[in-house]
């Protein structure tokens, strides 16, 4: 009860603001005579979510699959590249300028090329999300692996510890909070990438739904798709926060 009470105490302003905004929005549309195709009322969006003609499940599933795929690809590739950079100066010199170059490219602009190279499908959209989200993981992994006190490394040298042991016992745990912190950014980027990919080329997915409402002027469906996207995004973000809480409790409150 006390824990619940504390949570209520902490989060009631959040809910109050949210409820106030929804109510004002509904009131503005109802009494302000705003046309439905310009700005649908929250209640219409609610209806589109549950009682409309759109079969949400396949779209929701497709986009979620793309987002999770993009997230995992970005995480695995990002950590691997970060480890490579921290492990070997030669690899660092080879990779870093190239990765910086890739990162400065506007990834959204490459999306049409993905269509030419890979056609329609789930994979190119995943790849777009991964491409947008992997860079912070690389940087934070490399930084976290190298930010170890020199004295601690001296301690390793005194005991003649092999390089891999220093990596496993000291550098990698040290990098964990940095990596998890980057993965929060990646979680958001994966959503953006998947939706952008669907905008450019798709036959299914929440991004596809939004594009089709452009021609039908069915704005409430577009809003409903937005709701689903934010639900998926929030769940993924929450999962990363939970993971950080479980894997790196010592770093709590660092970011």
């Amino acid at each position: 009860m006390t824990k619940l009470g504390a949570m209520a105490n902490r989060y009631w302003p959040t809910f109050a603001l949210f409820a106030f905004l929804l109510a004002s929005w509904q009131a503005a549309v109802t009494f302000g005579n705003i046309r439905e195709y310009l700005l649908p009322a929250p209640l219409s969006v609610w209806n589109a979510l549950w009682h409309g003609d759109t079969a949400w499940w396949p779209h929701l599933w497709t986009t979620t699959f793309e987002i999770i795929g993009a997230f995992l690809m970005a995480a695995v590739v990002g950590v691997a590249l970060g480890v490579a950079i921290a492990w070997s100066p030669i690899l660092a010199n080879a990779l870093v300028p190239f990765l910086v170059f890739v990162n400065t490219l506007p990834k959204v602009a490459i999306a049409p090329l993905f269509l030419i190279w890979m056609g329609y499908g789930i994979f190119p959209n995943m790849l777009m999300g991964a491409l947008i989200g992997f860079f912070p993981v690389v940087i934070n992994t490399a930084v976290g692996l190298s930010q170890v006190e020199p004295d601690m490394l001296d301690l390793g040298r005194v005991f003649n510890a092999p390089k891999w042991k220093i990596f496993v016992k000291i550098r990698i745990p040290n990098a964990l909070p940095y990596i998890l912190s980057a993965l929060k950014i990646t979680a958001t980027a994966a959503v953006v990438g998947a939706i952008v990919g669907e905008f450019v080329a798709s036959q299914r997915g929440l991004g596809y739904v939004i594009v089709t409402t452009q021609s039908s002027m069915n704005t409430s469906v577009a809003f409903a798709a937005l709701v689903w996207i934010s639900v998926v995004g929030l769940l993924l973000y929450g999962a990363v926060v939970l993971l950080a809480h479980l894997w790196a409790p010592w770093a709590e409150g660092v970011d």
Binding site: E149, D151, M152, D154, L155, G156, R157, V158, F159, N160, A161, K165, I166, K169, I170, P173, N174, L176, A248, W250, A251
Partner: protein, 266 residues
């Protein structure tokens, strides 16, 4: 002269800075016997920490020879315990796991040293804290845990680089007494004690702890004086108020500044 545990023979160290070569240490010769507690005192930048690392084999000297226990030091030597200014405990490990780290790094089975680690923590007054994370302990307690870590593999030589420098004055004095107790000032025979090389900024701390204080001058670091501290052991808090203690402090101060103190009537 009999060979000591540590023998330094004309040790010099020059490093390349952006503005050219900088001579950090020059002509350091000293012999430190087994079981001796020796402090290195000097101004910032006199190279005393560098000298400590040279003895440990962590930095190469550019001239001279260093011998520890009869062997020339050319690479990091085992059988030493190191304590630094910061406790540098691993944040994600419990205190006990931190104390056991040297065993893991040295490729020994940490389970076999678990009871020794627990004994050390007990001795350092951290008996109930083995399962805590470092951030749950105060700075002084963390530094005591770092001392336990340094003692885990029972090294004959303890190298301490301003270990109490980051602590407040009162904790610092407590830690000095604590260190002497753990070192075995009361209950361990003189030649069975660990040899300690202790770097500090604080003259009273050096006098209080040591059998001998080596005073260094700055740029390049040279030995300015090498004083024996013939104060009775075990050292007590009252010792700090004695005339002999004050005289030794002044003597070291003079050696440090290289001049007599004006206006001090002692």
């Amino acid at each position: 002269m009999a060979k000591g545990l540590i023998d330094l023979e004309q040790v010099g160290m020059t490093y390349q800075a952006a503005s050219g070569p900088v001579e950090a240490l020059a002509g350091i010769s000293a012999s430190i016997g087994a079981g001796e507690f020796v402090s290195l005192v000097g101004p910032s930048g006199c190279g005393k920490s560098t000298l400590l690392r040279i003895v440990a084999g962590l930095r190469p000297a550019t001239s001279g020879t260093i011998t520890v226990a009869g062997r020339a030091v050319t690479q990091p030597i085992p059988d030493i315990g190191m304590v630094f200014q910061a406790p540098i405990l691993l944040k994600w490990r419990s205190i006990l796991e931190n104390v056991l780290l040297p065993a893991e790094l040295a490729g020994k089975d940490p389970r076999s040293l678990r009871s020794r680690a627990e004994q050390l923590l007990e001795m350092a007054g951290l008996g109930g804290f083995g399962a805590k994370l470092p951030r749950e302990l105060s700075g002084g307690m963390q530094q005591r845990a770092a001392l336990c870590r340094a003692l885990l593999l029972d090294p004959p030589l303890l190298l301490m680089d301003e270990p109490f420098g980051a602590l407040d004055a009162m904790t610092r004095d407590d830690m000095a007494l604590e260190l002497l107790r753990i070192w075995g000032e009361k209950d361990v025979a003189r030649d069975a004690r660990k040899t300690v090389l202790f770097v500090t900024h604080s003259i009273p701390e050096a006098v209080f702890l040591s059998d001998r204080v080596i005073v260094m001058s700055a740029r390049p670091g040279r030995i300015a004086a090498d004083l024996r501290i013939d104060l009775p052991r075990p050292r007590t808090v009252e010792l700090r108020a004695t005339e002999a203690f004050g005289k030794l402090n002044l003597e070291i101060f003079r050696a440090l500044t290289g001049k007599t103190v004006v206006g001090t009537a002692l």
